[in-house]
């Protein structure tokens, strides 16, 4: 067993402190939105979690490409870790969205392009996990999951565009131009924007920290498997 690297310890503590700061900013510094009230505060972590979900799946697809080129199982571990983290954060994104949508849209769920795409993306990566479960040979499992991570990631923007042409969105686009048909849109004050950007930064650091831990865990799991084989011999 190697002990926890010092840099990782520093990263852990930084993540923890920054997360507390982000919470304080969300609850005490960012102004209360006039129309929506306190429920609007879900927005900061909602966007940040969605952002981490997207990065995770992108990392998984890139790790998949590198794995197929280099055939080094290290990259499979990176891809697998990223997918697991991405699933968790996309789930947070969808659930916080539903919490906000209930009072604002008067429904937990609508068949809106963004909601639907996020959920289909979640299903793609559930399928990824099931694919991994179904294959015993580790080398083959790594190859197949690399391929599926690439194919799945490419399909996500296509899904988004096809549903986007299908329906006009009611999901607010807070940054940049806004669709007049969006419900629950608002103009951000500079403090709100700062809080949002800080939340995204914190979640990105959290992502890096979790990735590191997950990869270490994966390495230990491989060690355990090796040791088990040794005992059997």
């Amino acid at each position: 067993m190697t002990s926890k690297p010092r840099l990782l310890k520093v990263l852990d503590i930084t993540t923890f402190i920054f997360f507390i700061l982000a919470l304080l900013m969300v609850f005490f510094i960012a102004p209360l939105e006039k129309v929506m009230g306190a429920v609007q505060k879900v927005f900061y972590f909602h966007v940040a979690a969605g952002w981490v979900g997207m990065i995770s799946f992108m990392v998984a697809a890139i790790a998949g490409i590198i794995y197929l080129v280099k055939k080094d199982s290290k990259w499979d571990l990176v891809g697998y870790s990223a997918v697991e983290i991405g699933i968790a954060f996309t789930m947070i994104n969808v659930i916080t969205g539903a919490i906000w949508a209930r009072p604002i849209w008067n429904a937990w769920w609508t068949w809106d392009p963004r909601l639907t795409t996020a959920t289909i993306m979640e299903l793609v990566y559930f399928a990824y996990l099931m694919l991994r479960q179904g294959i015993d040979d580790p080398e083959r499992r790594n190859r197949f999951s690399a391929v599926y991570a690439i194919v799945g990631f490419i399909s996500v923007p296509l899904t988004f565009f096809s549903i986007r042409i299908f329906d006009r969105t009611i999901h607010p686009v807070v940054i940049g131009s806004n669709d007049p048909s969006a419900v629950g849109a608002f103009d951000m004050t500079s403090l709100m924007l700062q809080t949002l950007l800080f939340s995204i930064l914190v979640f990105t650091i959290l992502f890096a920290d979790l990735m590191w831990h997950r990869i270490r865990l994966g390495q230990y799991m491989n060690r355990v498997d090796e040791l088990k084989l040794k005992i059997q011999d």
Binding site: L68, I120, L123, V124, F126, A127, M130, L131, Q133, G134, I135, D136, R140, R143, F144, A146, V147, Y148, I150, V151, G152, I154, S155, L158, T159, F161, S162, I163, I165, F166
Partner: protein, 227 residues
């Protein structure tokens, strides 16, 4: 001295092999056909397809039927190769492996088109409404191409897994949702007589999907069959 059969020759041989095998056994197309008919009947009772509701859902019924039947066909076409060790034989042949992928895809595409060509007139007959239009045929050609391009790739992964019977639809369906949306919307447009110019968005989306996924599958297929 390395001797490689040319790409087109190998591709033609794989397609020919699949078509001949099907001509002799007829198990794939007959299975897909009976299944499609059953799906249409199930839809008839579950959706209560009365003349008034029918027009709105025809495109959906046709596409769900094609996609479900396609899953059966894809699974079968790869399982046959796997079970009798034919895949290993194919891979040992000194040909470009992407020729095998394209050969299998084209054969699967042909099977799907044959099934579509039979169920469309049957649907028209059963519901006494003509569903034929050049636009719809174009949509079926494009839609099934994209479906088969991803489907053949994922089916060749799924058959090598322990859970292969349930794995293919789970892997395939979330990825082909863009095709389903575009195909259903475009088919619906053609069936309700919307002019072609207003449906070009969907046609372009289908073409984009076909091009992207055929080329991705082309690039990664090697990684799936190498042992």
């Amino acid at each position: 001295m390395e001797h490689k059969t040319s790409f087109y020759k190998a591709l033609k041989a794989v397609v020919w092999k699949d078509l001949m095998a099907e001509l002799r056994s007829k198990e794939l197309i007959s299975g897909m056909l009976v299944f499609s008919l059953l799906v249409i009947f199930i839809f008839n009772f579950s959706l209560e397809l009365s003349p008034s509701t029918r027009a709105a859902v025809t495109a959906g019924v046709i596409w769900v039927t094609i996609i479900f039947a396609g899953t059966i066909g894809l699974n079968r076409s790869m399982a046959v190769e796997k079970d009798r060790g034919c895949l290993d034989g194919l891979l040992l042949a000194p040909v470009d492996r992407t020729a095998i992928y394209f050969g299998k895809s084209i054969a699967n595409w042909i099977f799907m088109l044959i099934v579509a060509a039979i169920i469309l007139p049957i649907y028209s007959l059963l519901y006494n409404s003509n569903v034929f239009s050049p636009g719809l045929i174009l949509v079926i050609l494009l839609g099934s191409e994209g479906y088969v391009a991803v489907g053949t790739l994922l089916a060749s992964m799924a058959v090598q897994a322990r859970t292969r019977d349930i794995l293919l639809p789970i892997l395939l369906f979330p990825v082909i949702i863009p095709i389903l949306i575009a195909a259903v919307k475009a088919s619906n447009g053609f069936l309700t007589g919307i002019p072609f110019a207003e449906l070009t968005n969907w046609i372009f989306l289908l073409i984009a999907y076909d091009v992207i996924f055929t080329s991705v599958a082309f690039m990664v297929f090697d990684a799936i069959v190498e042992e």
